[in-house]
Amino acid sequence: MGRRVLVTGAARSTGRRLVAALAEEPEVELVVAVDEQEPAEPLPDKVKRLAVDLRSPALIRTVQSAGIDTCAHLGVTAEPRAAGGRASMKERNVLGTMQLLATAYHAPELRRLVLKSTTAVYGATAADPAVWTESMPHETPRHGFGKDAIEVEDYVRSFERRRPDVAVTVLRLANQVGPNVDNPLTRYFELPVCPTVLGFDPRLQFLHEEDTAEVLLRTILGPAPDGTFNVAGDGVVLLSQAIRIAGKAPLPIPEPLVNRVAELVGRTVDFSPEQVRFLQYGRVAATSAAREQLGFIPKWSSLQAFEDFAATRLRKLVTEEQVARLERDALGLLRRAAEWVAREVPR
């Protein structure tokens, strides 16, 4: 009998990609794609769509009747506005997860649970270590997506204790970018100017969408060890560097005004407050555990992933050719001036 996989958050970009990839695997017999929203493309044959909220009783009926053996929980969202406000976002993220886990508890054939979490659980402050490893104690983010993600991780961990026969893998993913990703951070880079916090240049890590799909597919189908793993592209990119690669102009905002501007900008990019702190202090997570225990090596480094995103999605204000030409022109001018001086000025 083939694998029967339940995917939550299936209509969003990562979910869509994962569902399509799963449907192509011969060993997968059935994919149940759970999401309230209508998916953009028609779904392959193997995929059964379940257009319900995680809190719906239809979920448990499907899980039991389909004999789901793997649950991939991708349904934790970072976008308060899209979710209909912060309260509603929390409701979906935390209570949705509780409901899903209650369902999973009553799924006798379930053997594996994969949670797509985030490095946002580490928060972002000035007193952070430069590089987070999975086991480091971290200050709990007090609000927003990070807080939800921590609560979700806690519930998943308590589920692990109650169902020791289920292998639980938590993937803490760095910020995702790529040609098809749409999240608050990609929308931020699509703004005409990128507001930054004056005098701060945080280190960021990116994960290419191909690598996101790959690591999820691997933990769903491959031999997955229990545990929590950071997943991010190699290396780091500074925010200033990212803005320049994106070909945008930075707009430094003095710290006291940051919250006002964030509120204004938040309307278009759907930022939650802790993401603003992320753009002030940055965050870097060590990926050696994923490399060693999960055997996952991202194909794209943080820089390559971001360059790919910038090349496919952004219109640059300043291009390489312009800079190269300016450099050449300025140097030519200087050289000519120097030559003139050497000729005209007697030694």
């Binding site: 590089v131 916090v197 005098g199 500074l238 800079v323 190269a324 140097l331």
Partner: protein
């Protein structure tokens, strides 16, 4: 783990090795771009090729290197066959070729990044007048322009701690160098005690209100040590919370003073600098000059023992006199969130002018390293060993400071 930083394989106009960090294809962003340009020019006019003329912009030559296929793609193509370039006159090294850069599947730049032969840019040869003393100015302007171009396009790399060697080399170090050479006339001794490769923990005395002593020790190691080592210093978290300072602190290679960061840096083979007196040393009054304060709780010794890194004590003389602190306005400091608020003969009385440090004569002496590897990592569990080693390091620095103070002719000598 920080991957060892690869340097760009190309050579600059002056024939030096390019010092920029290399990308996965063994080239820095600047040279990658230049090669692309040359390739584009070549495809437009493939026949015109000239050898380099004296004074004419000589092409950046790329030394042949073992091509390193991009790790992440198992089926990365082997480097393409080499198209021989023209032999440039008077050059012993072959005009060479770039190893095949990684071609990513679905990458938009796959075609553009095809291997190219590097030839001279076809420019009409001109009668180059002898520019005489202007030549170095022009070379400097060229380097500055290249640097600006890299910054505008974001073509530089930082390590996971945010260390930006390009910025340090072109902006931060040149700003500090006049202070080092002319203002404080720093004299450095005992550089042979700092290993050229591998990890070591440099431990020093801290004084002078602002941490200029740390910056001068770092500059001494960067400029005067034969291996030009970057000192990765551990700084207080205040440094990462102040605008501008936060940004520069990480870029110049510093990180937060916590065990995790220090261990990570030492395990990556870096040279780590720590000032265990912290604010107690920096913010002590002038009358207590050159009396070392308590050395924290000796956490640095524990880390050195765990990682087996040798401890190199460093004694700085001269830093105490740059801002002689007569009083500390504690209440104002608390109000502003600073650890102390200094009153010196000139600050705050003369306003911003009071922030100019006094030109004392400095002497930095690195002492013989204290081996920790022979004690083994288990020794880190024994508090008595930790106390003893901490005292040993502190005494070494204190004695060296006293000796050098006695040898000094005058404060401003």
């Amino acid at each position: 783990m920080t991957p060892p930083r690869e340097r760009c394989q190309a050579r600059t106009r002056k024939g030096d090795r390019c010092r920029n960090p290399a990308g996965p294809d063994g080239l820095c962003a600047l040279h990658r771009r230049q090669l692309k340009e040359v390739a584009a020019a070549d495809s437009a006019k493939p026949t015109v090729r000239r050898g380099a003329k004296r004074g004419a912009p000589e092409p950046h030559r790329v030394v042949p290197s073992t091509p390193e296929p991009h790790r992440a793609i198992p089926d990365a193509p082997e480097p393409q066959p080499v198209i021989p370039g023209p032999q440039s006159p008077g050059t012993a090294e072959p005009q060479s070729v770039i190893p095949g850069p990684p071609i990513r599947e679905g990458s938009p730049t796959a075609e553009e990044e095809a291997p190219v032969v590097h030839t001279s840019p076809d420019e009409t040869p001109r009668d180059e007048p002898d520019l005489g003393p202007l030549e170095p100015v022009l070379a400097w302007a060229e380097e500055a322009l290249e640097f600006l171009g890299r910054r505008v396009l974001g073509e530089y790399q930082v390590d996971e701690f945010g260390h930006d060697p390009d910025l340090v080399e072109h902006v931060l170090a040149p700003l500090l160098r006049p202070l080092y050479r002319h203002w404080w006339r720093v004299e450095t001794r005992g550089l042979e005690h700092v290993p050229s490769t591998g990890p070591a923990l440099v431990v020093g005395n801290h004084a002078g209100t602002l941490p200029f002593d740390a910056l001068m020790v770092a500059l001494a190691l960067l400029d005067e040590h034969p291996a030009h080592r970057s000192l990765r210093m551990l700084a207080a978290d205040l440094a990462f919370d102040l605008p501008v300072v936060a940004h520069l602190a990480r870029k110049s290679g510093n990180t937060l003073a916590c065990a995790e960061d220090a261990t990570r840096l030492l395990e990556a083979g870096e040279l780590v600098g720590v000032w265990p007196e912290g604010y107690k040393g920096l913010g002590k009054p002038y009358r207590e000059r050159y009396q070392l304060q308590r050395f924290g709780r000796g956490g640095f010794v524990e880390i050195a023992l765990r990682t087996g890194a040798p401890i190199v004590p460093v004694a700085v003389v001269g830093s105490e006199e740059i801002y002689p602190m007569l009083a500390n306005l504690r209440r104002l400091a608390r109000l502003l969130g600073f650890p102390y608020f200094p009153v010196t003969p000139t600050f705050p009385a003369l306003g911003p002018l009071g922030a100019i440090p006094l030109p004392s004569k400095w002497l930095i002496e690195f002492c013989p390293p204290i081996d920790t590897a022979s004690l083994g990592p288990e020794a880190a569990m024994d508090p008595m060993t930790l106390f003893d080693l901490t005292d040993q390091v502190r005494d070494t620095i204190q004695q060296t400071v006293h000796r050098n103070l006695l040898a000094r002719r005058s404060v401003f000598g």
